[in-house]
Symmetry: C2
Subunit: 492 residues, 2 copies
């Protein structure tokens, strides 16, 4: 073996660039596949046309060592290229893609815990560059490690500006050619995904959404167009370790699609993505009426976790029983003061929902919707944060990340949401409830340190008295309190 050796860190990105045919419509007419091999196993990844006669094949190696590759294509210029690269250990801040660990938890591919603390900037990549930079600067200081964002532009209340570029090529008459993609758009999107990766933020990419309403037609494309769009997106983006596939936002509001369409598109996403990035589908509010639930069947194997919208936050225990998958309540109302019900809860209420859902073994996602004269609203456009919830969400994230690994809901404490590990650790949240005291039913013979956590004021107060067996714990005359019980080491 001679020549310069290519080194790619584990869960980094290898990219092969080739020149090829530019006649006709290469997006529709050409195909190139890469086969990446290690230890006698090969993984197929789809390449893509990037305009101007350039073809690319991207690959994210999941294991260290020597990887070979070869190409196949009907186009002679693209066929039969081969080579190899060395996959080196991941660098310190690279933990690999996030995966499902068990029915309650996520973890990075390197085994480290990942607790999703997302926020929402649906259309931020469609704003001007200055605004996008401001969003990134805000995210750099914020406590969030996941961002819900749309690929298609958004036409909705407080958000009606025209985007510079869209995933499809625009014709001179302003309409879109659904058979040609727009490389300029995707290059920008990829830059933003890489920016998020640098900040340790997962890009929860929303692949379809209903906020179009005839303006561009992206919500009502032909099935074959939906499919070629998905294939192209996955070929371009799946080698980014921080992408998640959110098939749709408020799928139940997309009238041009049926449940069978979503099944098909989710199955296609599962089949096309060689890395198994997280896959979800996010409901609107039709399922809100408890007596007529219209909710995607999250038991399907092509769904990795529940990405729900709900206007209250008490349902994760039911969804856990139904689906046995981690639950993120990706919309549970936003901190703000918009006229719409989903956009006008207080910081106190949003933080209450975060804690309540966390203490039931799920996770919430943040969004901010303060009325603004320029309609610069974080939830749609990014920009700056103004609310009171982010610092409290950081505090909760710290509490969860400090907890011992393996916490799960403790249903035996039936009347207060509680997670923990039996005999080791308990975290329970009282929310709007204000008991003067609680009678704890702890294991006898094990001594616990008790701490009272004021979740709004972000204070932790240790109780002097040790707790063990059936014992009484006095609580402050305040709402939004939590109790943390930690087994005392070496002193039983």
């Amino acid at each position: 073996m001679t020549g310069k050796m290519t080194e790619i860190e584990r869960w980094g990105r290898f990219e092969l660039v080739l020149q090829g045919p530019r006649e006709g419509n290469p997006y529709a007419e050409q195909e190139i596949r890469g086969y990446f091999g290690r230890d006698g196993q090969e993984t197929m990844v789809r390449g893509f046309y990037d305009g101007d006669g350039v073809y690319r094949i991207r690959f994210m190696p999941g294991q260290e060592g020597r990887w070979t590759y070869r190409t196949e294509s009907a186009a002679p210029e693209l066929d039969g290229h081969a080579g190899w690269f060395a996959c080196t250990p991941a660098e310190a801040d690279n933990h690999g893609p996030v995966q499902v660990q068990d029915e309650y938890r996520f973890a990075y591919a390197d085994g480290g815990s990942y607790f999703p603390f997302g926020t929402t900037c649906y259309a931020w990549i469609h704003l001007d560059e200055d605004m996008q930079r401001q969003t990134l600067a805000t995210l750099a200081e914020a406590p969030f490690n996941k961002l819900r964002m749309c690929i298609f532009p958004k036409h909705y209340a407080f958000n009606s500006q025209a985007p510079d570029h869209c995933p499809f090529e625009r014709r001179d008459d302003g309409s879109f050619d659904f058979e040609r993609f727009e490389p300029v758009f995707f290059a920008k999107l990829e830059r933003r995904i890489a920016d998020l990766q640098q900040l340790g933020i997962e890009a929860d990419l929303i692949l379809f959404h209903p906020y179009d309403k005839g303006r561009w037609g992206f919500d009502a494309m032909e099935p074959a167009v939906d499919e070629s769009y998905l294939r192209y997106v996955i070929a371009r983006l799946s080698s980014f370790r921080n992408v998640w596939w959110s098939l749709a936002n408020e799928y139940d509001f997309m009238e041009a699609k049926t449940m069978a369409d979503w099944d098909r598109l989710l199955q296609l996403t599962q089949a096309e993505d060689p890395y198994g990035h997280l896959r979800s589908i996010h409901n609107g509010t039709r399922m809100y009426d408890h007596d007529s639930v219209v909710f995607y069947d999250h038991k399907q194997p092509w769904i990795t976790h529940v990405s729900a919208q709900h206007w209250d936050a008490t349902l994760p225990p039911i969804w856990h029983r139904q689906f046995r998958k981690p639950i993120i309540v990706d919309e549970c109302c936003y901190e703000g003061n918009l006229p719409q019900r989903w956009g006008n809860v207080t910081g106190e209420e949003l933080v209450r929902r975060f804690w309540d859902v966390a203490a039931r073994g799920g996770y919430c996602t943040h969004g901010e919707t303060f009325a603004d004269e320029q309609d610069t609203i974080w939830w749609a456009k990014g920009g700056k944060l103004h609310g009171e919830s982010p610092e409290r969400i950081r505090f909760l994230r710290e509490v969860l990340e400090e907890a011992p690994e393996g916490c799960k809901p403790i249903p035996e404490v039936y009347d207060v949401p509680t997670i923990g590990i039996e005999g080791q650790y308990y975290l329970q949240y009282f929310g709007i409830h204000r008991p003067a005291y609680r009678i704890l039913d702890l294991p006898a013979g094990i001594r616990f340190k008790a701490e009272i956590i004021d979740t709004w004021n972000m204070s932790v107060t240790e109780i002097e008295e040790e707790m063990s067996g059936t014992c009484r714990l006095n609580l402050p005359d305040k709402i939004y309190q939590a109790v943390r019980l930690t087994r005392m080491v070496g002193r039983d």
Copy 2:
């Protein structure tokens, strides 16, 4: 016609007292029926043995005019008595029994609106006389017009004292003779029902409950005993215009009874009561899990209204669709600070639930559960009120009583609970939501006065600008706000 004429006001009580057999067990062995006639129609009412050879037949006339009566019995001393009385118009504070008016509303028999604003003193009649008088004095100053109270004594947390008297006669060994009633107990109960009537308070009598647990056995009597108890209670009490029949509290926690038992006992209650007093059955919390609802079938014709327990307050719209009957959330957590979840919400939260449910076309019931060194807790024993909710509940009651007659939920305002009359009046409640403004979609050409109601601070602020058609209404930067829109008279 000669002699002294007996006059009974409409919905008052006529009582015929007779001496009869005292041998054996007259409770089980004797029977007497009264037949009350007017305009050729007769109503049968059951008489009852009151001990010491005394038999009574009570009747509540529902119409003015001349009523005749006659008795029938197998016992010659009780058979064949006859006479008549004159039913005079009801006095000013006598509106008759409360009835169901439509699927959302109650009304007195005289047609006047009745909005239930209940409170809860489950075991108050089993406390000493001083304490009962204190409870009545508190109720006289409180805003409540319904009281949930148990007939049987209660053995439960914070309530374990022994009662003086029970509905059944106590044997020397302390056990109860389920074939003999205790007239001393019933006389006391009747005095309390009459006291409540004087205060304008409906007695929502809980006929069975699970808070016994083997202490007395009242929760697990034989079916025939349940039935003779119901017949006796109805014979004694149904002539009180302010009684309601709540068949059970937390029926789903009464393990000795099945749904079929409840059907049978409710049907018996319906058949025995000649006046059709309101009939309900109150659930425990098994139905709280949204995915496995165990809830009595309130569509049954022997149920007049829903008397629910629920830990949140958003469900009345669903129950309305299911049952088409008025809904009272008779337990929605209590203001207080007990360790148990049902007994430790703040005044703010309880008032929020009252408003939220009212704005969805239902009603809540109050209870108070502050920890107390003597365990003197209003919800169980009566006594004094300490909380912040009663005066706000009075304020809400005044707002509802001031509203034009015929308000119903307005489902067109899908995102804010709203009741009203289309084109006339709207009352909407924002609860924990804090919109900076709302775009109102009012009928064009009709002008409305807008008022902002601070439900916690009990203030009403009229907006200077008239509202009409599609218009913007700015709202204060606070939670717990409501908006009242009233058509301006004569100025369109």
